[in-house]
Symmetry: D2
Subunit: 364 residues, 4 copies
């Protein structure tokens, strides 16, 4: 199957290239009678759109979402919800130089080989612009999950070698406000300032830098996840790895856990206020691939964006040496804009798994 | 959908619990006319089976595979290949104590909540025994990929804090031999010895320890991977994360790459012997989610096995405090036996993506 | 899964309600480098659109298709092709009377029960308007199949009790021209005239009438179809049965064949001009669920449209008796407009099966 | 995708060839805590097995089902249920003559062309023996549906030109008993006798004959079916058409309905005992692709089995003329044994749609 769909029961299919007429998504499987708050969808898109600050790309897109179907008198009908986002600020001539060139660490070469044809303008389908459609769909998923009190919170926990300290996650709503109060979307204000300074310097140097996003999901019912292959963390991992520039995913104790002993790693069950909880949470809220009610936690690693404002050696489509100069308007660091994409993909995974859980729920 | 299938065109469905009659798999979509070497399949299973050394579980299973269908006169027919592996050495009474208990960091609690019924013996479906079925299927996938010269090599690159140095991967066949020459399956002999000593000590202490497995895939054709959601590394990540005890996945530069600059991270294209290659390979052989012909490299992190030979506090199924004592025969460290599972899942992802690539291949 | 997608490798997802902003489709899996002839797509839509003749509904829609993605310099890129068709001539007030009523033999009652919410205007998602999106996608499928010389021809073979004689199908292009030369789309001119007269009379009486469509597919390569469940005729059957008002599907000898003897029903193989053919074709071109190279033939039965211009007893949404009067502008007989939908669904099934065949094709 | 799976949430995958070691099925998605009555499963298989009467094939198979997984203490665990049925009475030498021949109207030619390799013994995977696995799975589906009071009843309504009169379907349990009291499984005893005589004569003449099966499903909840493509009747149609020898499917008024007028065809809603029903039921219990609570009714047409006990002209695998003589032990008429397969496939469709309905059920 061509891989432009995500999810089984809450399923999305996206379309659109960076310099085409529009990008968009069809959501098939949003249950009926969910209030579809269009302003909320737009506000989510605004968190992703280009031109939002000095440390992101200076391209301007209003990313205005239009709902074409599936909503009646403000509520989902249970029929497919189509959302389109017209493209506006395309400077296709900025890309004419790459029609015949393969930019290093971009998808130019692989797309050309795979398809034999490539819409080179703005990177075509390989452009991160496509993720706007995911954010729109993720917003609808969030509206669905809202009923259940599920909270999703992501923030930039690292830029380059700068890492924020572990957060006190007691009050996610408060962390969200703190995060949105700075342009790098880190929920630790001190680190945020250092990050902004770092990215600004990188931008002036015509370079780019990577980063990491940490996510917490709270109030997930016990029982989400479909072993043995569609374990909840496996689907979260696939979701994150499908985002442009992601090179790593870990949940709970992650890579650090591989260096630990079982005696220190095991999460002991305790009974608290008539609920079963664990004393520690190295499991990241997921055991045997199924949610156990504790906070789900995971981290996503982003490589530095490949488009840098410096000349680089490369090969052209005839195989000859050439030079690629960075042109266009690009992000020095993608993670501030990626936070909302990570949240969107998280919402999509949870919405899908919630419906799968609902189908099989043990009624006895 | 219940999550017991993996893959789209080369699709496997597994079944079986640890103490049930048998475990097994149906492979639907193995192309016809592939030579099905039953001895090879058995040899792969032998690399996973319990009781193989002092540093793995002492349970004895012969894990003998029987092919029930889909093979005629030694070749695949294009019809489903069913393989079953009878269970033998089950000591169900070793588990009677956990019928009413939730073992820490196991799937007991989540399975009980999700299904309302739990085959507690040996962990039932949540047991890693299920992975034997995957290894059998992965062996068939390897036989299919063999025709294309694709080589898959995985080894234990870390146990606890012990890490092997980076390997010279020029000769994968040689590394394979070195790996199989020690019981921890690390391709660096010096580190292997240290690892064996470490695990043996952990075992004697009644504890367990985590580790990491590094994988290389060579000679992958350019063009495998289906953006935007079924990117090759996203499916590899999901595959690895679906393996018991896995908590992290990274490919190419991985988490380290998130701390790098674009100017140092980009892989420059060069022309070598009429082939396009890259000077470095931080991309791990995948760009824009599509293979570019360079070695694919990734690492999988395993937490320490949750079953330890020590008493632990826990909760019983009525919510009362209880003590769980470790009984049964368990691995102190899972990674030596997991190497072949990682290779199997890798083969399954590649086989599936190869068929998808073949379906859409640009003929012009 | 919500059922708005069709196909596996050549997969479409449609959206849109009769009185919403637009209807449309995403095609995911159209191979790259196919010439996308927009005029052809529009001409196919014109064969379905309302207001085309006196014997179809008098609603006017221009059904203008806009391609939003997946096409570059006139060719498919291998990325998703999104096509939208804005809605124009909606008289929503024509439907205010059914907001609270269940029209007989419509989907009003079942949609209300299933979803708990219903866009009643124009029948919402249950309206046959949705099929315009399928015709657009089917047109793209036809462009793909054209390369292989596959010919698809459908025509109205019955209206009410009027049946056309069996056609001489030697020259399908000629039959197509004959079909398009009359407004009922029957390829036998004499029967066509009788049919037009019959439908016109039915229309004047404020009633509706059913009919049947016969389809022939020529030059299908041997080997399409995926036993045991995705047999070619099983997927054709599902495709046809998914079209509004379809109540029956038969292929080859169909229902008549059930009354025959094996000795008279078997198709004897003969060698002709270095090709294997059959002397008769009761198999309808499909044996064991796989195409054998002979013409594929099948028939689709349509019930009479449920919206009649007469008063009918019914129930309102509170369960009380009420009267439904037929309002709005409806088809007296749906089959003239359905011919192109049948062809479109046929093309979609064949395109999908062709790609699946290509994935598994035996290279030895 | 290779087509050996059926269903989405209640999903089965079958394997096995006629003369291989065994046939079988994995059911993935049977909800937990369903009582799995193994005797019931066996009794269903006994209704399909060969050698059951003088009017069916004289091959002897005990078709004993073994459950290998997914059941614990008599109940489903929610994990995959694997059932295998060993093959016993294979006379492979009966088939040596067809290793090089294409039997008329069999799948020999198409399988050879598609796969390039063919297990010719007993027809390999194309043999109707595969349906035993479906019956086993259908039995589990029936056990699941039993809780909801859903009743499925099928019977032979036609053999050749002999048609049973329409039944009084008030008491389905009684009809079932009547059906099982004769070897042709027709619920009208008079017609049954005529059918038996007809088939016996056909058998003696070394010929075969076709037939039809009528099915009724009662007590289906309102709301099953997933428009626009996975309409309930479309999935039923695909299910039936996937059964060997099926050439036609119709539901409700079927092909006859295509000759009717809307004024006579519409089903008028009435309120009866606080339930909404329809006065007539030309809709066959399904409107807009969704069940409306009335009896679902459909008919499936079977062509005459292709293996006849007479010489026939044919082609061998080198393209030369040859003669095929009917050897082996075959059914003169397949419908008495197919009744249980039709019920099984019906149960599988309903189980799958019930879970899909459950996932999306409107809670408000």
């Amino acid at each position: 199957m061509a891989g432009n769909s995500f999810g089984y029961l809450f399923k999305i299919t996206t379309f659109g290239e960076s310099h085409g007429k529009a990008i968009g998504v069809i959501i098939d499987g949003c249950p009926p009678n969910i209030e579809i708050d269009e302003q909320f969808i737009q506000s989510e898109l605004d968190k992703r759109k280009p031109g939002q600050s000095k440390i992101t790309t200076q391209r301007k897109e209003s990313d205005v979402a239009q709902i074409l179907s599936g909503v009646f008198e403000g509520k989902s009908t249970g029929t497919p919800i189509a959302i389109i986002i017209p493209n506006e600020d395309q400077r296709s001539k900025d890309y004419s130089h790459i029609a015949e060139t393969f930019r290093p660490s971009h998808a130019d070469y692989t797309y050309q080989q795979k398809y034999g044809i490539r819409d080179y303008r703005g990177g075509g389908r390989s452009s991160a612009r496509e993720t706007a459609a995911r954010v729109a769909a993720g917003a609808v998923a969030k509206l669905f999950l809202k009923q259940m009190g599920i909270e999703i919170f992501a923030h930039v926990c690292a830029v380059g070698q700068l890492e924020s300290p572990n957060l006190d996650t007691t009050d996610l709503a408060n962390l969200l406000a703190t995060r949105e109060a700075n342009i790098v979307r880190c929920a630790d204000p001190a680190t945020a300032n250092e990050m902004i300074e770092l990215i600004d310097g990188v931008r002036k140097a015509g370079d780019t830098i990577g980063g990491k996003i940490a996510t917490v999901v709270r109030n997930v019912p016990v029982g989400l996840g479909e072993p043995v292959f569609d374990k909840l963390h496996a689907d979260l991992g696939k979701a994150m790895l499908s985002i442009n520039a992601v090179h790593g995913f870990e949940y709970g104790s992650g890579f650090e856990g591989s260096a630990m002993y079982g005696s220190e790693h095991n999460d002991i069950f305790v009974q608290e206020e008539n609920k079963i909880r664990t004393r520690t949470n190295f499991s990241g809220g997921i055991q045997g691939g199924i949610s156990n009610g504790m906070d789900i936690s995971f981290r996503t690693a982003f490589k530095p964006v490949a488009t840098i404002m410096r000349d680089q050696d490369s090969i052209d489509t005839s195989g000859n040496s050439t030079t690629v100069s960075g042109k266009g308007r690009h992000d020095p660091c993608v993670v501030p804009r990626a936070v909302i994409i990570v949240e969107a993909m998280t919402a999509l995974v949870l919405a899908d798994h919630f419906l799968r859980f609902k189908a099989y729920k043990n009624e006895q």
